[in-house]
Symmetry: C2
Subunit: 203 residues, 2 copies
DNA sequence: TAGATTGTTAATCGATTAACAATC
DNA sequence: TAGATTGTTAATCGATTAACAATC
């Protein structure tokens, strides 16, 4: 269910930008392709944000969800591995929009040390432990090659990192019951699309 | 459930590389953090791939799953939008490993026309309709800005594209009931991690 | 044959949907 | 007040897990 919260956020922000002040669960459901029931059920897990006969105030609801998502917490992150995808994230992705403060990046390649990507400094990986000892970090963004994924994860756990945004395609959560992991696996997603093409359209 | 199939593939490939020939649902479940029951249930949807008292032959099962995922179909794809993420995909991501044949890319910026990224030619977007009329394409990889997402999707649908690998963060599926969409939304995923940090660790 | 392990049926669990009293 | 719409309880649906006969 949690994965629907960001979608609600996005839709509410859109409504707000279009000058809409209030929305009912029925309207929101229609826009998002869900039942009104599910929307009310989802929100009621966290509180009573609506009003009978009126619906929900768009900005109020958006702010409540932002709060639920911890966007005001100032969670901090570091980026591990400034390869193609790591660089694309640092250059292009707005961590601040998700309420995350990306502090710096680490890489093994000395040619990249000291470089500045969109305001993010690239440090040498040998500085990692010392850095984490001084600067507590909430989230590690893993963009290293598969071969480095597991050992780096263990090092980061040992340094106190508890949450991982994992682009490596390796199942780092296994055997580490107490960490939080969100996986972005391009190949899993694309393979699923291949499945749909073969099995849903030929039907 | 379909989203577990690529993970099975990956795990079986790993076992194969380690020289393992057979695996039971219990072993596989232990490795992947699932019940043996679920694994047997999943596979039995598609056929009888195991043998009582023995388990599953690793390579046979892997090949069966590859087949289910349509990896031998030679599905074709084009990439729309050669910005940061589009370039990272073209340069770095192995479409062939997912059984997808990436044919070429399209962009609006004339400076990019004719460029070759990892063997992928960048064409001008004005050539898109003509290209699709001559070359039927299964999958559109959408890496364009949010503002272009919806209109481009409609153009592509009109040109006969039925499957979308969607990196835009826009819900393109709404109102187009008959297309297949796999979304990769960085911000949705990162926001979910923010939620976990706030709500699961403080508990 | 005895042991192991499947495929499948039945039981359980959780998530979605429907219904409706409460109330703005 | 009448109409609209919430929050919540109950019903339904689907997915996961447990159990076990079949059989390699």
């Amino acid at each position: 269910m949690i994965h629907r919260l960001p979608k609600y956020m996005r839709q509410l922000e859109l409504l707000h930008q279009n000058g809409v002040n209030r929305v009912s669960s029925a309207e929101l459901g229609k826009r998002m392709g869900q039942t009104a029931s599910q929307i009310r059920q989802d929100f009621s897990c966290f509180g009573e944000f609506g009003q009978q006969g009126y619906g929900y105030n768009v900005t109020k609801l958006r702010d409540e969800i932002a709060n639920i998502l911890g966007m005001d917490r100032g969670h901090t992150a570091i980026l591990l591995g400034v390869g193609n995808i790591g660089r694309a994230l640092a250059e292009n992705f707005c961590f601040a929009n998700c309420g995350i403060d990306l502090k710096c990046a680490f890489d093994l390649n000395p040619e990249k040390f000291g470089k500045n990507i969109n305001g993010i400094e690239v440090k040498g990986q040998q500085e990692l432990e010392e850095y984490l000892a001084r600067n507590p970090i909430d989230i590690a963004v893993l963009c290293v090659p598969k071969t480095a994924a597991l050992s780096l994860t263990e090092l980061l756990i040992a340094c106190g990192v508890e949450a991982f945004w994992n682009f490596t395609g390796v199942d780092i959560a296994l055997g580490h019951g107490d960490i939080l992991v969100e996986n972005i696996s391009f190949s899993d997603s694309l393979m699923a699309l291949g499945y749909y093409l073969k099995n849903l359209l030929t039907a």
